[in-house]
Subunit: 648 residues, 2 copies
Amino acid sequence: MSAHTVKFDTLSQAVQVPTGTLLSEAAMQAGVEITQPCGGQGRCGRCALQVVEGTVRRRSTLRLSQEDIDKGFALACQSVVEGDISVVVPPQEKIERLLTSDRTVAEVSVPAGYNFRLDQPIQRVRVSMTPPDMSDQTDDLSRFKTALRQQAGIEDIRVSLVQLQKIAEIFRQEDWRVTAILDAYTWDQPDAPPRLIAVRPGHEFNDEPIWGAAIDIGTTTVTVWLVDLVSGQVRAQVAEYNQQISRGEDVVSRIIFANKNGGSEHMRNLVLDTINQLLDQACKRIKADRPVTPRDIVKASVVGNSTMIHLLLGIPAENIRLMPFVTTVNQTPTLLAEKVGLEINPDGTVDCLPGVASYVGADITAGVLSSGMDDSDVVNLFMDVGTNGEIALGSNEWLATCACSAGPAFEGAGVQFGMRATKGAIEEVWINSETLEPTYRVIGGVKPRGLCGSSLISLLAEMFLTGIIDKGGNFDTNLGTARIRQGAHGGEYVIAWGEETADGRDITITHVDVDNLLRAKAAIYAGFTVLADSVGISLDLVEQVLIGGSFGKYINVEKAIEIGLLPDLPWERFQFLGNTAVKGAYRALLSRSARQRVRDIAARMTYIELSADNTFYEAFMSALFLPHTDLSRFPSVEAAILKQGSSQ
Amino acid sequence: MSAHTVKFDTLSQAVQVPTGTLLSEAAMQAGVEITQPCGGQGRCGRCALQVVEGTVRRRSTLRLSQEDIDKGFALACQSVVEGDISVVVPPQEKIERLLTSDRTVAEVSVPAGYNFRLDQPIQRVRVSMTPPDMSDQTDDLSRFKTALRQQAGIEDIRVSLVQLQKIAEIFRQEDWRVTAILDAYTWDQPDAPPRLIAVRPGHEFNDEPIWGAAIDIGTTTVTVWLVDLVSGQVRAQVAEYNQQISRGEDVVSRIIFANKNGGSEHMRNLVLDTINQLLDQACKRIKADRPVTPRDIVKASVVGNSTMIHLLLGIPAENIRLMPFVTTVNQTPTLLAEKVGLEINPDGTVDCLPGVASYVGADITAGVLSSGMDDSDVVNLFMDVGTNGEIALGSNEWLATCACSAGPAFEGAGVQFGMRATKGAIEEVWINSETLEPTYRVIGGVKPRGLCGSSLISLLAEMFLTGIIDKGGNFDTNLGTARIRQGAHGGEYVIAWGEETADGRDITITHVDVDNLLRAKAAIYAGFTVLADSVGISLDLVEQVLIGGSFGKYINVEKAIEIGLLPDLPWERFQFLGNTAVKGAYRALLSRSARQRVRDIAARMTYIELSADNTFYEAFMSALFLPHTDLSRFPSVEAAILKQGSSQ
């Protein structure tokens, strides 16, 4: 097999690759960052590069115009190197730094009655040993164990090689007075002796912090909370985009990418980088005499959907994507931080909270834990509407769950001007029912760049109630406003004219966008109706609707009901819980009983597979309208339509 | 700090080192192998290099003549680089390949009644799982655990991340029919669920081997036995010099070397290299359809003295050398092979057998195990005379042990023509009492190069009984033979004239050599007499003298008694057991009960510290004569002296 030279304009050195190498692989080998939101499936067109010398074989040119192709543009993930080439790398989409502003920092209070000594499996033990002499040549470890037994009543401990390598020096440096940090609970071996995690100099004070981390690996955003396990307080909150985004925006794209040669290791490193940088960032926020570093963290509690957990652990995720959609593991054992790759204390451990199924992961069990619905006397509906839509229904007596592949439309994907809820996103829209002119609010108060989830819901509702679109989502272009027009993708509505926007382009919502949003909302609505039906509960009986996920936090319940995304229940039954996933991880980090409880939740939850028969599909088809085929399910919306109609 | 160039004649590239770097460090950095038998203490003079351009600062010139110094010779471990230099590396002493001939291959029989299923903690379990479908989306791990429970009655298992990363693929490739290899015993957690070590394709046959390794890390020689755990048979035996020899011949030199910057890691790598190469070599000896590789080994049982175990595990050994001579750990937990650095199955485990004290290590407890003395009705004396002399005394009712720093004289160190028992070593010497002419036998039947332990004992005895030396070890130069002469080191006896020898030099034994040998034998004899005294036993009550160690295997009991190395007991009470250390490791590898038994041995052994008072010193001084100050302790020798005297 012959080798070819690939020269990227952004690098001084060319790379050598064998015939048949994908251009994206050559780029990765050269260290050139190429955005691949669809995971290298050739679907999104965002990895296009310009081949200016030589040619490549294009397996697919989807999303490239003939003009693009004539200029040499080729999809990096779909083009094969078969000769020497020179490549120009267009500016890549930059992933903006997350604003850890009020939009991501949560108010958290320490659970009532939290008691470090009683609840926390991590223990701090001070011991003083008698130094050895010629009449007592007991080995260091036995001496230490004897002191633990006599001075703290600890019968035995487990010790790693790393600790054995360190104790001789610290015992002698500290005149045989040390503080031991022990971990008394691993859930695969709850009754095993405590593990020694660290030996620290001298006798520590009671209030000296012992650090733990609660980590939520979202498909889009990774959140880390740094927790003082002694007081139970969250001392720093940080969040950042999951670096895996550049290799796929949704879980399926990521699984596809990970399944390619070397992809799994690459994906793993991307998320580990994200987490480790966040841990570092969180530690730097702590003001203390001695700087806190990630190595001081002795315990991590991790949540995420099943794909995120598999990718984090380097476990093949392919079977999550393929029928019959099976994970390799829902409940991982307690793992050593070093094995996972978290750069905390290498003897610290990582508990990945348990998931239930391929598409109901630890983020949901953690959400249920933090919502408290598993302990509630009444029927609760819990929803986490992120990139996927996961739903749980139940009470302290029973729990059922399902996942509906809503797709990431409400996160801005599949919507032409869709974007995440960051600076420049229009977050709320109102449409005047007479003039059909919109009013909007932009995050950060700058010129708008696009539309985030909350404004998409508002838009759908407003357009529907003002008659811009009908219940099938079709635009009425005969309303006498320039804002409704025929675009490249059919009918569209202009929210902001070019002169108002950041890049001078009109911001619109198109017929295709509306279709995607309808499908997403229909999937979610169908999800919880089928779930309720399958357990024989009427939705009216739901006393509380608990909405988790950062998306949920900013939606307008009224509008969401108007489009048929949420059930038509009194508004006071809705509660927005914010990032319930990280809150659940935090609860589990604090106590043995919470960790046991989340396992019980995972074990108790009956998983309903929506794709097992036609029930879901039928419910989905019925929900593809605004608000629903069966308007009687939405009496409040029916009333609003009537009112709107009579006022016109 | 300025940098200097150091150019070694054996390398094309020079290295840069900062001012103050030791020449030996520069050599190591450059990758030049320098022999350092004394561990870099400047005592042995074997690391001398010739500085031919530039100069070095010599901190010590011990063992260098003025002529050497004038020629530029400098001790690498004692010379400091302070400018650019060019260095000539003299040919370094080569460590010869061990002959794994009849001298090292032991006859081993599988312990009577060994039963894989009952005795061996490693288990082989075949399971067939029902494949998942849309009506059963159980995760792979739970499916596997269910099959283990239903088909093999195994309630739970512990699973590592490495295994979790592998199971999805192998389950599907093998149509859900696999063989699991489990380890049901770790001695720090004897009641924990079995650990999954490997998942193998399909259903293995009952007689398919499962590989384990018994490893003895001697200060001089590392021995590896490859064992089929199913049949219990030792299928390959290999041995090689411990590569650490180049950094110190005795444990103290090695500890000193390891305590230097980077020395510990270096020492660890040297012994790991030795072991890993041996494992590879052992595997290659197995003839099978599918080649056996070290990765197929699922369990290793390791013995060695406490220093060797500390160095293997990267645990600082410095406190073994310093008063009050304390190890960091005598009983290590069961360790993951990957953590130890053994290149076997990374989920395989390593049990380092327990030691008792700094100078009574796992080699002795293993020796006691394999000798069976802990289960004997009569009083046994067990000796392992290697580089150190370790002694155990006792029966099934009590056990006592001590260590006497005999020094490595009987291994050839500290003796001018001393060498190890390899090709070219004189292994036996007889001296004609009338002519005082010697007869000798050489290993390998070649021209002699030196004297190994067994011939040194013979020589001492023969020289003493023929009057060449008196009971104080002084040469009688008035016996009218050219073989007894005055040499550079006082009186000496010529065993082989230059024309008979490999390098043309006379092979002699000198007064200094005799002194060193006397001290070594006195230490050993004093050791077991003090040990017997301390437990209130007369040596006459010893029914069996069990001699372990490769040294012991070839000594002549009669001669050893004649010089007062062994107690004067009837010859039939002596048994030579060969390498009892590796035999003990092998026993422990085979069964849970043997592993428990060696722990009991370590716990039961009363350690007597000989340097705690003057008793040992006085006994040592009395034993510095041939055979002893108190001749009545050696009636058979007294008789021989009388007979010899009357025949002259």
